[in-house]
């Protein structure tokens, strides 16, 4: 029954900065990332600075080419497509970015911004395009009075709705959302998240949803991937992963979130130290320098992804057959 719309296979990405030849500095943003999204579902990616989650978005959208690996969208390998083909594929995948004032051309009206995708892909005629624009506005709960306005006169929430309208106007199958609510107030965020869910049902969309906010990810996702320094450290159904995390980093992240309940304050700091610079990646397991349950071997052996449940994987040596007997209590062994 598995019907993946998008598959990211062993994707790695290295960026080069400045200098020439041996003076050039290399940054490994992604290392052997494997992800999959089933049609109609939402994959949430959660991670902190340097996790690589935004880079994954850009690679999926074809804005950056991976250094290695493949991106299979609807059965086609995007990394092999010529530019003209890619443009056609883009109709099927659209994006909503974090709303800063710069998500829209300040000189264009809402109408112009919404017409642009239709014009680029030569959809319909002038008349029918306006109808599509109105429909898109309707889907996001805005009325036609917004058409003549300029984006910077809108509130953050309204702007984000227009961004969503722009993303769905071509009726794509995949929508990539990169921190779409991070700049919004709590009450506005709630509305936008509900809008995302509603539109997903109405238009049968598949989402790749990125956020650093675990509560948001929990609310919108079916499956969650936790990323750290360019690796997927845990992936699985969101309820399972968040109620019984199988990787120390996921656990620490969940612990670190301040809860809206003063009776449940943190007793210990769940995680020490700073996020290491990606220029100087720790040896062995990337997380070992900050891991509260690290073993000696973690500093020289890099864990692969171990199956830890149904459709649930975690990259931690504690799940290895060699060590699982001495594992901390929260590690659920498959054997």
């Amino acid at each position: 029954m598995a019907d993946p719309l998008l598959q990211v296979q062993a994707v790695s990405k290295t960026f080069g900065f400045g200098g020439v030849f041996w003076t050039r500095r290399w940054l490994q943003a992604l290392d052997q990332v494997d992800l999959e999204i089933q049609r109609g579902q939402t994959l949430g990616i959660v991670g902190e600075t340097g996790s690589g989650k935004s880079t994954v978005c850009r690679i999926v959208l074809g804005l950056i080419r991976p250094t290695a690996g493949r991106v299979i969208f609807d059965g086609r390998d995007l990394t092999l497509l010529p530019a003209s083909e890619m443009r056609r594929v883009r109709r099927q995948m659209q994006a909503v970015f974090q709303d800063t004032a710069s998500a829209f051309n300040p000189r264009q009206t809402v109408q112009a911004a919404l017409l642009a995708p239709l014009e680029v892909h030569r959809v319909g005629s002038r008349g029918s395009r306006l109808t599509l624009v109105e429909e898109a506005l309707h889907h996001v709960g805005l009325d036609t009075s917004f058409l003549g306005r300029h984006p910077h006169t809108l509130s953050g929430g309204q702007r984000q709705r227009v961004a969503i309208a722009r993303a769905i106007i071509l009726r794509p199958s995949l929508v990539v959302a990169d921190e779409p609510t991070s700049a919004l107030d709590v009450s506005v965020q709630a509305r936008i998240l509900n809008l995302f869910k509603e539109i997903q049902r109405e238009l049968r969309l598949t989402y790749l949803f990125v956020s650093h906010n675990l509560g948001v990810i929990r609310y919108v996702s079916d499956v969650v991937a936790v990323m750290y320094l360019g690796r997927v450290v845990e992936v699985g159904p969101v309820d399972q992963v968040f109620s019984a995390p199988q990787h120390p980093y996921t656990r620490a992240l969940l612990e670190a979130i301040p809860r809206a309940d003063p009776t449940k304050r943190q007793r210990d700091i769940p995680i020490m130290g700073e996020i290491p610079s990606a220029y100087r990646m720790p040896s062995g397991c990337r997380f070992h320098s900050r891991c509260p349950v690290a073993m000696e071997i973690c500093s020289h052996e890099d864990p692969p992804s171990y199956p830890v449940g149904e459709n649930h994987r975690a990259a931690c040596l504690w799940h290895d057959r060699r060590f699982v007997d001495g594992a901390p209590s929260w590690i659920a062994s498959l054997s």
Binding site: Q94, A95, A103, V120, H152, S155
Partner: protein, 288 residues
Amino acid sequence: MQLVQHERHRMGLWAISWRRSRLLFIGGFLVGLVVPSAVFADVISPYSPYDIDVANKLQPPGRTHWLGTDEFGRDVLSRIIHAARISVKVGAVAVSVGLIGGGMIGITAGYFGGPIDMVLMRFMELLFSFPAILLAIVLMAVLGTSILNAMTAIGIIFIPGFSRLARAATQEVLRQQYIEAAHTIGMTDLRLLTREILPNVITPLFVEAMAAFAYAVLLESSLSFLGLGAQPPEPSWGNMLNTGRGFMDQAPWLGIVPGMAMLIGVLGFNLLGDGLRDFFDPRLREAV
């Protein structure tokens, strides 16, 4: 504080109070003296600038000739007004050449980056490193002395400055998220350049164009002062200043008047340019 910020933005032009936009008003006023004179020169000149009337030569300013007459009996006022036309024409053409040429080079360099950027910018730097007057003289020597060539020469001088500005503005625009959004939609390079980048790069270029206009007027005057621009009997502030030099003890007004006219023109455009720059920048970014 989003709401209050929004209100301030909507206030626009009419909210400019005198105190905050002195430059804009003064500059605008002075330019308002020069440009309409240039445009309506024929209508407002009391006399023709070419009419020789030797009998009345070297008259001091008086009732019949408000600013006096020159060594050929020509009315100085009329000559000043027609000279304004030359200056404004040269300024307009030169700035256009610089703006369009420099703009295209700058946007191309900024957009494509890499080796294209490097080559274009090195060439611009080469051009930029020549002192303006020297470059103008050299170009005129090559092209020949005439008003048209003066326009071209000055235009070429402006290209590097505009290109640098256009390049920086383009790079700034490229950092904005709507460019990424445009790529995601699948927009072609051409459409991106014309619809998304160009309109947002124009503003700083336009502001600079005002200051460049002032400089163009100055350069033209310098060139005609040196005998390389407008040729007699065409009046130009520069060549009037040149001849006026020789009459400083007999008829000082012949030197002072074109000098004052240049002052008004150059100052006017400079202030207007500064005023526009102030108008566009802090107002839009003023946090509340």
